[in-house]
């Protein structure tokens, strides 16, 4: 695997997140503070959008159209549409708490966000469609069901609640009493996974009401990534990247994971390339490591970025990866 660094860019601060547009024409790089940059694959800046007061949350490109949603600690959501002028198409204040993340449903019909104990669902025009408010604590994360665009899972306390638009109560509930931080829903819609404060991962096959608890991580679990076939789940909890086999009736239960070595600091960001076994892993050690877990547990390639890697995102079709660091550097890498 050969890496070709094709461009560098510089954000104002720690790169919280990178989101690729559906047509692959740009990446949105969101720093913790300051302007949100839209970068073309050659590294040139297509647009700079104003940051949110008191800091940004993670922006999200629409899955089908050239629309970007941004959010921030000012409790606001803004929607920008191509050609991405500094004036948003609409802006909505959701509350006075921080908004840390946004996520579009896979059909692009709805935008989800969490503010305090509320999971808020908007339509593409910014109207609040539904609020799921019966969380006992703050909503730490959420993930849409890729197969059922009206279903979304939220993480609050230990476990996950699964909601369906139009209903006030969750249609499934997965509660293990601890503390979960991250949520991911497998592309085939089968597994809802949480990364936990306790060094563990919970998987939940909600179609069978079948929970799994996987322990043994070195630290809390900071990164989750399914491959596009939903067969593999990569997890980062410490220096090792642990890859679980999610096939078969019971998924990872009773199986040996692959443990990928190479990082000397915690793995904090993971992303599988669509339709491939290429797994990019960003570490607090400043290394961006490329694995092919099916064939080896050793790194295929390593690129030192100089400071802790904070986020990674693949281009939707080309073998191109964007990586951001805690120092605000953004690197675009072609992988061959």
């Amino acid at each position: 695997m050969e890496l070709q660094k094709i461009a560098n860019a510089r954000a104002h601060d720690h790169v919280l997140g990178l989101s690729g547009s559906s047509d692959g024409s740009m990446f949105a790089a969101t720093p913790s503070q300051g302007a949100i940059q839209l970068l073309r694959p050659d590294g040139s800046i297509a647009a700079e959008l104003p940051g949110h007061g008191m800091g940004n949350g993670i922006s999200a490109f629409h899955p089908l159209e050239p629309i970007l949603a941004t959010c921030g600690a000012d409790g606001k959501i803004r929607i920008y549409r191509e050609p991405f002028s500094v004036t948003p198409e609409w802006e909505l204040t959701i509350g006075k708490d921080w908004i840390e993340k946004l996520a579009w449903s896979t059909d692009g019909s709805h935008l989800a966000t969490a503010i305090g104990k509320r999971l808020v669902i908007l339509d593409a025009m910014g109207a609040v469609v539904q609020e799921f408010a019966s969380h006992r604590g703050s909503v730490c994360d959420f993930a849409w069901n890729p197969r059922q665009p009206e279903e979304i899972a939220s993480v609050c306390g230990g476990g996950a609640l699964m909601w369906r638009l139009g209903a006030d109560e969750p249609f499934a509930r997965f509660d293990w009493g601890g503390a979960s931080l991250l949520a991911s829903w497998s592309p085939d819609g089968r597994w809802v996974v949480t990364g936990d404060q306790t060094p563990s991962v919970h998987l939940y096959d909600h179609t069978r009401d079948y929970p799994l608890h996987i322990q043994g991580y070195e630290t809390k679990v900071k990164a989750l990534a399914f491959n596009s076939a939903s067969r593999k789940l990569a997890t980062g909890g410490g220096r090792l990247v642990t890859v679980w086999n999610c096939t078969g009736k019971t998924g990872p239960e009773g199986t040996m994971p692959k443990q990928l070595e190479g990082h000397t600091g915690d793995c904090v960001a993971l992303a599988y390339r669509r339709g491939s076994d290429w797994l990019a892993s960003g570490g607090a050690d400043g290394n961006l490591i490329f694995f092919e877990p099916e064939s080896s547990t050793r790194p295929r390639s390593v690129l030192a970025l100089g400071s802790a890697v904070a986020s990674v995102a693949w281009h939707p079709s080309e073998p191109l990866l964007a990586a951001g660091t805690d120092a605000g550097d953004i690197v675009l890498i072609r992988v061959q």
């Binding site: 913790s32 921080w98 305090g116 703050s138 601890g178 503390a179 404060q197 306790t198």
Partner: protein
């Protein structure tokens, strides 16, 4: 460099917000981020004020010692991703908050431990009403027990003799805390910031006789029948490191739920350096305190907790002497 954290506790109406506003408006030149509870009323707009729910994360099936504050982990994690770092974090808790999970957050979570340290727990006490709260409320007793600094506030509303009696009662519960009498939370900022409260060395240099005071206050106030008290132990000579380790491990395993805080300085046989020890519930932490130098080798240990058995603790510790 780790960022200091000040934890501000106290019952509703004790004067926490007044003190907080005073800290934030004074010209100290520090960039302070404030995390206040969801009902907070800070009127400051030039500092970063974040509201949060007090969310308990149970990390180990509800074990009190393994509970941390999830909201703090999340908010502080985000704050530390900013280039313009803060000089200090101030956490204001609700009146009914248990300080344990707040403190434990900075012991249990690796990221928090790496980036922050608890400088002090400051407990504001309403001199008018604290007697009632101490009698009726477990939370009030715990807030006093956890404190490094106690502000005996609203002293202008209470006769001097009553304040004296209250002062003694507070010291009986928590012999380690510095008690200051205040009106409207008016206190020099260096008394509540830069405390170094989680540093026994510092505490003892400030007041080398604090253990004697603990004994005195506890004796003087037996008639209150406090369930939360301080027990101080002193012994010259060296400890057997292995015995001490085994005793402390057993102690926190069996009584950790009732031990709010522990601090100590140990002289370990064969070790030329002082060992500084501190703990919260079942979490204990030791650090090298540097060479003894000309100082006499001795051991000092203080427990603050509920239903402490002074005789058993003293006997247990003395059995660890080499």
């Amino acid at each position: 460099m780790r960022t200091p954290v000040t934890i501000l506790t106290g019952f509703l109406g004790a004067g926490k917000t007044t003190l907080l506003n005073r800290i934030l408006t004074e010209q100290h030149g520090l960039r302070i981020a404030v995390i206040e509870n969801e009902f907070g009323e800070i009127g400051i707009d030039h500092e970063l004020v974040v509201q949060s729910d007090e969310e308990i994360f149970e990390m180990n099936n509800g074990c009190i010692c393994c509970t941390v504050r999830g909201d703090l982990i999340r908010i502080l994690g985000r704050l530390m991703k900013r280039r313009d770092k803060f000089d200090r974090i101030l956490i204001e808790t609700t009146g009914l908050a248990d300080p344990g999970p707040v403190v434990q957050t900075f012991f249990m979570d690796d990221d928090m431990k790496e980036q922050f340290f608890v400088d002090a727990i400051v407990t504001v006490v309403d001199a008018m009403h604290i007697h009632l709260h101490l009698n009726d409320s477990e939370e009030a007793r715990e807030q006093v027990a956890f404190a490094d600094v106690i502000l005996l506030n609203k002293c202008d509303l209470v006769p001097g003799a009553d304040v004296d009696a209250l002062d003694r009662r507070l010291r009986g519960i928590n012999a380690l805390a510095k008690v200051y009498r205040t009106v409207n939370g008016d206190i020099a900022l260096d008394k509540v910031l830069h405390v170094g409260g989680f540093n026994l060395d510092h505490a003892m240099e400030l007041d080398p006789h604090f253990l004697e005071e603990a004994e005195h206050h506890e004796h003087h106030h037996h008639h209150h029948e406090e369930d939360v008290t301080s027990v101080g132990i002193e012994a010259n000579g060296d400890c057997d490191g292995r015995k001490l380790n085994a005793w402390l491990s057993e102690l926190v395993r069996t009584q950790g739920q009732d031990i709010f805080r522990m601090k100590g300085v140990f002289s370990i046989a064969g070790n030329p350096d002082r060992i500084i020890f501190q703990g919260v519930h079942m979490l204990i932490d030791g650090a090298n305190g540097g060479p003894w130098g000309d100082r006499p080798r001795e051991n000092k240990l203080v427990f603050i907790g509920r239903n402490l058995d002074r005789a058993a603790l003293t006997t247990g510790f003395r059995a660890c002497l080499a």
